[in-house]
């Protein structure tokens, strides 16, 4: 039954896509219905602990199963997607809307497959199909070639990470002879290290960590609802989920936890800095996604995968509405430049609801996201004091960019909007924003006790310090927003990382490929060309010698005569079978000779003799060898 969870949204998406564009109401109802159905399936699957399998063949099997951790994500995904799809049906351009919604549903199906996968092969399938969906969705407005180029950039970057998953798959099968997650536990030494670090690379690529971060910026060329889905519920979130899900088996690998923490910490701080500098609404949020996923990585590395998943859920609840809100503001301003916005007065509802989500991003209590962030800080504090402090600084950065985002987009600017949101857009935004607030229940002791998670001990001094830093961050963000006059620093483009990748990897590779293509034509092809021209020389020489012999019959001795006669006989002998075979007809030799001759004349007069001669030589060699062998 568990197959229904990934297959239902995927098939519904295909059907929706095939049904074609139409009224927003119909498309929205279909997409929302499919997402709601997926949500029901996810809840049922979690309640009844569904499992499933599939015989792939050749001794490989696919397994699907749910753990408490994966059930939480499996339910979060369609819940967030439901609101996002309703928003998309109302907000996005009518042309191509069926394709957009259909692909988003397929995207959800692929994500669900990755969530319920209990073996690496199922995981890889869902993982890569997500990559395809991201390509198609980022390039949704395909008439602008730059969008497709961004889709390609995203696909290739994340696939680079997928190679890590391939590597893990290969190492696991090589080391344990199976691909289910439990097999990871039977690995040792090199295979374990390969599997653990391979999976880390795959997760880092999807989650936009470290060197992989720039693809999230390019992904901003997609529609806002796609960004919301991609960052909150699918793809990016999948990176953190994967590490949390596989943590029990991967943590024993030497240096693995340290690497996860290092990667997460770097991205949390760098992403925060980038977001503080960004002047593009969606890119600001994209930088913040990298940073928030970095926090989840830190939680996993510190040994608290449950905390990472808790933050994943709270993050989904606030990041989706923030992107939807950015879409509304972008539409209203006709641009995503934050400086052109300021719709606090014109769009009060949007502004108010966005404020809730922004407070969650800033981790201000009593929002649920604040609780999960404090848990991460506590987990980091268990690891070391410095790590704990670094997480608090990252939290201060979140507060700063959250405040800056909200103030610039919805502060008192008095700008007149070009377009106003329709009611379903506000409703979707509102439901998600209220969910952020509702998650504040996580602060309550009984609720925490009911969670199937291991939580780090929190100390009130730490929380106080952390909250103080959040307050400082908020003030700094507001100050920055008010003084938003200086041009955006160059470092805002992911600290120059995209340029570095362009100059250091992409362009050198293009040059290498061009060079290889040139070598292929100029050098490798020279071998047969050389052989051909050599053969031509020999043939010419032979013709000359033959001519000389013809001219001077006097000195032809008997031996040469015989060789010549034999050659002619051989040629006659081999010529006919050659032509007969060539036409594929075992009878009517004369007629065929004429016909094939005609075919050959049309082709290239004279040359056909050469290959028939070669064919003949082949046959002659065969005969000679058989005779020799017999003797």
């Amino acid at each position: 039954m568990l197959w229904a969870l990934p297959l239902f949204p995927a098939l519904a998406g295909l059907a929706l896509w095939a049904s074609g564009d139409g009224s927003r109401l119909r498309l929205g109802a279909m997409a929302g219905g499919a997402a709601a159905g997926t949500l029901v399936l996810a809840v049922l699957a979690a309640a009844q602990e569904w499992q499933d399998g599939f015989a792939w063949g050749a001794g490989l099997e696919l397994h699907l199963a749910l753990t408490p951790l994966s059930a939480a994500v499996a339910i979060t995904v369609p819940a967030v997607a439901l609101a996002v799809l309703v928003f998309a049906a109302a907000h996005e351009e009518a042309r191509g809307l069926a394709r957009l919604l259909g692909l988003m549903l397929i995207f959800i199906g692929a994500m669900e497959l990755a969530v319920v996968a209990a073996d690496l092969l199922s995981l890889l399938i869902g993982w890569e199909v997500m990559g395809f969906c991201s390509w198609a969705l980022i390039g949704h407005h395909w008439r602008d070639r730059a969008n497709m180029a961004s889709g390609r950039y995203a696909f290739v970057t994340t696939r680079l990470g997928d190679l890590g998953l391939f590597l893990a798959l290969m190492a696991t099968w090589g080391g344990a002879g199976a691909l289910d997650y439990a097999a990871l536990g039977r690995l040792e030494d090199a295979p374990l290290a390969l599997a653990a670090f391979g999976i880390l690379i795959a997760a880092a690529a999807k989650a936009g960590q470290g060197p992989f971060a720039p693809w999230l910026f390019r992904a901003m060329d997609g529609p806002s609802s796609v960004s919301a889905l991609l960052h909150a519920a699918t793809m990016v979130a999948a990176g953190a989920y994967l590490l949390a899900r596989l943590h029990p088996w991967l943590a024993p690998a030497p240096y693995w936890s340290g690497a996860v923490i290092a990667l997460g910490l770097f991205t949390a701080l760098a992403g925060g800095a980038v977001a503080v500098m960004q002047g593009h609404a969606k890119k600001l949020l994209a930088g913040s996604t990298s940073a928030q996923l970095g926090l989840m990585f830190i939680a996993v590395g510190a040994g608290y995968p449950g905390v990472a998943v808790a933050h994943l859920v709270t993050h989904a609840a606030f990041k989706a509405p923030l992107f939807l809100s950015a879409g509304i503001a972008g539409e209203a301003a006709g641009t995503y430049r934050l400086r052109e916005m300021g719709f606090g007065r014109a769009l009060p509802w949007t502004a108010g609801l966005t404020a809730l989500a922004a407070l969650a991003l800033a981790a201000v209590p009593p929002m649920g996201a604040a609780w999960s962030k404090e848990q991460i800080a506590a987990a980091a504090m268990h690891e070391s004091l410095w790590l704990g402090l670094a997480v608090m600084v990252a939290g201060a950065l979140s507060a700063a960019y959250a405040a800056r985002f909200w103030w610039l987009a919805y502060g008192p600017g008095g700008a007149e909007p070009e377009a106003r949101p329709r009611w379903p857009e506000i409703a979707a935004l509102g439901v998600l924003a209220l969910a952020c607030a509702a998650l504040g229940l996580l602060w309550l002791g009984p609720v925490q006790a009911s969670l199937p998670l291991r939580l780090p001990e929190t100390r009130s001094l730490e929380i106080a310090a952390s909250l103080a830093l959040v307050a400082i961050g908020l003030l700094a963000g507001l100050t920055l927003a008010r003084r938003e006059t200086a041009p955006e620093p160059q470092a805002a483009d992911w600290l120059g990382l995209p340029a570095l990748i362009g100059h250091g990897i992409v362009r050198p590779f293009e040059r290498l490929a061009a060079l290889a293509a040139h070598l292929d034509d100029a050098v490798l092809d020279a071998i047969p060309r050389g052989a051909a021209s050599g053969a031509q020389h020999i043939a010419r020489g032979g013709r000359r010698a033959w001519g000389a012999m013809q001219a001077d019959r006097g000195i032809i001795n008997a031996a040469v005569w015989q060789v010549a006669a034999m050659t002619r006989a051989l040629a006659r002998l081999s010529d006919k079978p050659g032509e007969i075979l060539a036409d594929g007809l075992p009878e009517g030799a004369a007629r065929i000779t004429g016909r094939t001759g005609a075919d050959a004349r049309r082709l290239q007069t004279g040359l056909s003799h050469h290959y028939y001669a070669i064919f003949g030589i082949g046959a002659a060699l065969a005969i000679l060898f058989v005779i020799f062998g017999k003797v």
């Binding site: 290969m170 290498l512 034509d521 290959y611």
Partner: protein, 492 residues
């Protein structure tokens, strides 16, 4: 039944060559013949028991003194290839001609080529194998030379001479191999059971070298692949589809059937070298393809990349006489799936490329753009085939590649890890290709570019439906191949 499948196309080719039929009638006869041959193969498949060695056998003595006979039969290696070839021939023959000249001869040559190709996969006699190998060259030579475009004749001749040189080496090796048997036999089953060169030193190595070079040219592997791009570029789309889909498989099939199965020990000794050659082909093919500005050249070079995966799988499967059985099984199954998948996928891609030529007489990627608007069906077909080719899960290419990678890693981890890089380059080059043809601004000259016709859609739909079917439910194909039986068959 198998004999029928081989001889029927030949007979129909003879009919078309002589009977003064109209173009329409020739086409109808050709399609019907190809369909009947496919049907015969499907009947054999229906009675096939996976893993039970050679089946549907038939033997008619021919030259008893040399041990040559008309022998046919199929096992899990040849049946999938024959079925795929039979299907691809129906598709290629039914595909509309690009230049409608001399239709009768065109279809006659196609049927001739089909007879030779099916014969090659279905025969169990080494001499007949060689004869069919060379006959296929002749058929393809005329198809490219007469119905191609550009420098078609030059390309056809290059293709012919290059692969003929390879086939001469194969002939020498076959003869040397057969001469080790006493009494003399060309029976593949006997040769597999006898392992005629087992325990021999240099001579066995030389025989293998001859086979490997010969089949490497046909496959083609780096560095003897340079005949492939010009042959594809100037060939009509349907001939390209057969060249890539069927003829290239003859090289890998020969490697499995002759080099690996008949010379187990020798093959195992040199398997790593073959594996390295395959790795270079994988990387070189994809990198060079990335830089191609010509649509057909780009697809052609990806064949070098994909056939490299297949050869890697074969090298892994033959890398040892005992040990690593599970990994070798997986690699061989993967290699076989790769051959079938590549036939379907690249066959479809070349047919589509032919459709481009029929509409614009232009293969330059830079001259295209924005066609998603007026050719959405073409976009869907080419997109699906491209993603299948770059190994997206849920499509056939992934099934093959993941198994090859897993199997290869267990035997040669470094080789497998490096081969992974091919995946990333393939992704970049196929997405780049789609992007440049279908997206962005449309040049005004393409405003009346027409989408695929109903005939074209139906043909591609069948091929691509199989690509999806293998991708989501590979078990039926994997069971048919039953690689384990092949590895142990004939006393491994």
């Amino acid at each position: 039944m198998l004999t029928f499948a081989i001889l029927l196309p030949f007979a129909a080719a003879a009919l078309l060559a002589f009977a003064p039929l109209s173009a329409g009638a020739s086409r109808a006869i050709a399609v019907a013949t190809a369909a009947l041959a496919l049907l015969a193969l499907v009947v054999v498949w229906a009675r096939f028991t996976p893993g039970a060695g050679f089946q549907a056998e038939m033997e008619i003595p021919w030259i008893p003194a040399l041990g040559v006979a008309w022998r046919v039969g199929v096992d899990g290696i040849s049946l999938p290839l024959a079925l795929m070839s039979g299907l691809l021939f129906v598709a290629a023959i039914a595909w509309p001609m690009e230049r409608e000249v001399n239709a009768r001869q065109y279809y006659a040559w196609f049927l001739f080529l089909e007879g030779a190709s099916l014969g090659l996969f279905l025969t169990l006699d080494l001499l007949l194998f060689y004869v069919f190998f060379d006959l296929s060259l002749v058929g393809m030579y005329f198809l490219i030379g007469r119905w191609g475009h550009g420098e078609a004749q030059r390309a056809a001749l290059k293709f012919f001479l290059y692969t003929l040189a390879g086939s001469l080496l194969i002939l020498l090796a076959i003869i040397a191999l057969v001469l080790m048997t006493d009494p003399l036999t060309f029976d593949m089953r006997d040769l597999i059971a006898l392992q005629p060169v087992a325990g021999m030193d240099l001579r066995a190595g030389l025989i293998l070298l001859g086979l490997v070079i010969g089949f490497a040219i046909k496959t083609p592997l780096f560095p003897v692949h340079t005949w492939l791009p010009p042959a594809h570029v100037d060939a009509p789309g349907a001939a390209s589809a057969i060249l890539a889909g069927v003829l290239l498989k003859m090289g890998t099939y020969g490697l499995v059937r002759i080099a690996m199965q008949m010379m187990r020990e020798t093959f195992a000794t040199y398997a790593l070298a073959i594996g390295i050659l395959a790795l270079i082909s994988i990387l070189w093919g994809s990198i060079v393809a990335f830089a191609q500005e010509n649509l057909k050249r780009r697809i052609a070079y990806t064949s070098v990349n994909h056939m490299g995966y297949a050869v890697l799988g074969i090298a892994v499967a033959g890398s040892a006489v005992t040990g690593h059985e599970a990994a070798r099984d997986l690699a061989l199954t993967g290699a076989m799936v790769e051959m079938v998948a590549h036939g379907l996928i690249t066959g479809a891609l070349f047919l589509i490329a032919g459709a481009f030529w029929a509409r614009t007489q232009d293969y330059q990627l830079g001259h295209y753009g924005g066609l998603a608007g007026n050719a959405p069906r073409m976009m869907a077909a080419m997109g699906l085939a491209s993603f299948a080719s770059l190994g997206l899960p849920g499509l056939a290419g992934f099934v093959a590649e993941v198994q090859i990678f897993i199997g290869a890693f267990a035997v040669w981890p470094w080789l497998a890890a490096l081969a992974l890089l091919g995946l990333i380059v393939s992704a970049a080059l196929f997405l780049g290709m789609l992007q440049r043809i279908f997206f962005g601004d449309r040049p005004p000259v393409l405003d009346d570019f027409t989408d695929l016709t109903r005939t074209e859609i139906c043909i591609l739909a069948v091929l691509l439906a199989l690509v999806v079917l293998i991708g989501v439910w590979p078990a039926w194909l994997l069971d048919m191949i039953g690689a384990g039986a092949t590895l142990t068959f004939g006393g491994g």
